[in-house]
Amino acid sequence: MDHYTVFLEDSIMQKDTLVTAGSKMLENFVSPFDATVVKRLSESQFSLAGRVIMDEFGIPSLIFEGNEPLGAVKAVADGTASHALCNDLFGKYRKQATENGCCYIHPTYGTVSRFGLIPLASSMDQIGVVCKNLHDGFALLSQIAGKDPRDGAMFPEESYNYAPTSKNIRIGIPKFVNIETIENFAKNFQTIDIELAHFEAYKQVMYILSCAEISNNISRYDGVKFGHRATSFRGLDDLYIKTRSEGFGADVKLTAIMGTMMLSQKQYAPYYEKAMKIRRLIKESLKFDTYDIIAMPCKISDDPYENLALYALPTLAGLPAVSFAHKGCGIQLIANTKCESALLSAWEVCMA
């Protein structure tokens, strides 16, 4: 592609531009500043071409997934854009990218600045890239990744080199994976069977922690300072209740209610704290000394909540991941922290 055109998910701040995160709550919100990724792109060969709609605040329905691809995927799939930037917490972009001839890169948590990204769950938020191929994707990523003093949770590296590594790549395939589903992919590599500790709890942990953090991050939308405000109300509580009832859609409300419950005094220990412990165990149980990459399919069910188990690992452990279609099958590859290069190498091997 001669010219790169990048679209932004509507959760990324662009100065003097309407930024709504797909919510009525921010229907009139004009950003007073640029996100760091926007600033960095404007200083590169990539040009910002437009903004795309999204699920409200990036929260998909976990009950029913529609057929229509998300704006970011659609724009890249139909060639309107070469790339799109978005925050894929729940894996919907990863899955849809592979179903629409695109790739998705979820970079290592803390390598791309979240300054100017409307927060969803701060311990998981990570701007990622929808692209046509991983070469293009990493070319863009190398422009936006690197330390930003305005994001306090980042690695110290100023920039990253995503050149592919040449060594033989060992692929770990989790026991739950039906090997036939990724057989064509796997035969290109030396593979080992691996056990992912607490895999059965992945989706619960993901759900509990994301709801908790989201309920906290969206409490700023109260009708007092900016965004939607109910037109008539009596007293403060009524302002809050009406504004939030009108401004939030059903999935956001459900998330807020669940998260509020999980952080409440009574439920903190059995839900939030327990989920945090399992999250730590999940991270600690990974053995990237015996394999370089974990491979799994991008879909195991028609139930979006079941599929959440597949996307949880990069999000919960902050690991880099790529997803792409290989001979009709959606593949997700996950590597160790800051080992994006191994992902690129594996993709090159199987695409060769």
Binding site: M13, A21, S31, P32, F33, A35, R114, F115, G116, L117, I118, P119, A121, S122, S123, P149, R150, D151, G152, A153, A212, E213, N216, N217, S219, R220, D222, V224, K225, F226, L236, Y240, T260, L263, S264, Q265, Y268, Y272, M276
Partner: protein, 478 residues
């Protein structure tokens, strides 16, 4: 007495950082409403919190001056509640790993010395301020104070009297202000206090029902509130007419009563959880040492230095070192006028009385130390008399005049022409025969009136000693 009062304090102190806790906005007091506000402290999304290192260092200093154990890895948490003065809907504070624990502060009361032990100190951000506007019948929010860094100093329930509480707050003010952590001005809200109070029978080990009086900002009100509240508890225990409940109360200074704020209590589940956007902060021995080395001279050390090295009286030293601000003024003036006793005397006698006339306490005095020193120099050089010096100091205070220039421009220098003084005295003696006669009849005090009259005719520019001497001489000769 059958009962004893048990009190614990939570003291909030605004730290004197230039900028806010998590953004680069100015943290200074007194700006126009919403002048010091950016997207971050207005609660807009997409602004990750980045910790102000200086605030952490001030908090380390607070830990050091209160003999506390510093947490090697401290972290921040989020406390959730909805209120319009809280822009994000959560306050960033420390619950699980506060900056330090288990400190102590020694206080001195009529009963003697006592150690007050501290549970912990934690760092947190302040909230904004609600202002009710009667013209439009609405509440407005000022976010200038939102995210200004605070330390909250939580004591154990070690206090038994209001006197101990006041002594502790004064000691904290000295410790923190001399360490440069805060100006600790209660009336401006940079030091505020929540009082937890309960009453039990003497000898009981179990604490009684506790009530909390929130947001106290004057020592007088704190004493009054403690007296009122402990009496209310005792009456309830004694008569059984009122059932005490654990609750938050508010002090109404005008009425002199505490009032229940029960309606706010109902929904108080703050849903604390670790703040995921701020990395835990490691505080190693080296960093602590750097902060320790940088600590300014504490009040106690300064008191010793003033009495032993500079020869000030204990009384003068205790006043100078009883306020960080006075102490700074003393140091500043001493740099330009190197006689400590006189500097102390001018500050305590003249400057404090001028300030008092303007209803300003020790902490609120703002004066150009160089000009203060210049006034002392002019008097010392006998260019002006002391009364004129005091007048000049008043003008420095009010209008910021340049003393030397002002004296020159207005020809306020003392009259050195002895013939003019002589003739003025003669005129006064001729006019004031009544006082002259009183003096001659043995009322020596009558001379003061005559000195005053001569000084008046000399427009205050006479040398009072010289005038007095000459008058005595003439009167005795008459």
């Amino acid at each position: 007495m059958k009962y004893e009062t048990v009190i614990g304090l939570e003291v909030h102190v605004e730290m004197a950082t230039k900028t806010k806790l998590f953004c680069a906005c100015s943290a200074q007091f007194g700006a126009a409403a919403n002048e010091n506000v950016c997207p971050a402290c207005a609660g807009m999304p997409g602004m990750p919190a980045v910790t102000n290192k200086k605030a952490v260092e001030f908090a380390i200093a607070a830990a050091l001056v209160t003999n506390s154990n510093i947490t090697p890895t401290m972290s921040f948490d989020k406390k959730n509640y909805f209120y319009p003065d809280l822009p994000t809907g959560y306050q960033i504070t420390q619950l699980f790993a506060p900056i330090c624990r288990d400190g102590w502060v020694e206080i001195e009361t009529a009963e003697g010395a006592k150690k007050i032990t501290l549970k912990q100190i934690h760092i947190e951000e302040d909230a904004g301020k609600l202002v009710h506007d009667n013209r439009i019948g609405a509440s407005l929010v000022d976010f200038n104070r939102a995210s200004v860094p605070l330390v909250e100093i939580v004591s154990n329930p070690d206090f038994r009297t209001a006197e101990e509480v006041v002594a502790y707050l004064e000691e904290l003010r000295l410790l923190l202000s001399f360490a440069g952590i805060s100006d600790c001005k209660m009336q401006e809200g940079s030091m505020r206090c929540d009082v937890n109070i309960s009453v039990r029978k003497i000898g009981d080990t179990k604490l009684g029902v506790r009530t909390e009086i929130k947001n106290m900002n004057s020592l007088k009100a704190i004493s009054a509130a403690i007296a009122y509240e402990s009496q209310r508890h005792m009456d309830a225990l004694e008569t059984g007419e009122e059932t005490l409940v654990q609750e938050t109360r508010r002090w109404d200074d005008a009425v002199g009563e505490t009032l229940s704020m029960r309606e706010k209590e109902a929904a108080a589940d703050y849903r604390y959880f670790p703040n995921p956007e701020i990395m835990p902060v490691e505080i190693d021995a080296d960093w602590i040492e750097v902060v320790r080395q940088g600590l300014p001279e504490p009040a106690q050390d300064k008191f010793v230095r003033l009495t032993q090295e500079l020869g000030l009286s204990e009384y003068d030293s205790s006043i100078i070192t009883g306020s960080k601000n006075l102490s700074d003024i003393f140091d500043g003036a001493l740099k330009h006028f190197g006689r400590p006793k006189e500097v102390a005397n001018w500050i305590i006698v003249e400057l404090l009385s001028i300030a008092k006339g303007d209803n300003k306490g020790e902490g609120d005095i703002e004066i150009d130390c160089e000009k203060l020193a210049k006034v002392m120099q002019l008097v010392d050089d006998k260019i002006i008399n002391r009364a004129m010096g005091k007048k000049l100091l008043g003008l420095v205070w009010k209008e910021g005049i340049d003393p030397a220039k002002y004296v020159e421009e207005n020809q306020l220098g003392m009259v050195s022409d002895t013939s003019l003084i002589d003739s003025t005295i003669q005129t006064v003696l001729a006019e004031q025969t009544k006082s002259v006669n009183e003096y001659k009849d043995g009322n020596k005090k009558a001379i003061n009136f005559l000195v005053g009259q001569v000084m008046k005719k000399l427009a205050g520019k006479g040398d009072p000693n010289m005038v007095n001497g000459l008058l005595v001489k003439y009167l005795e000769d008459m």
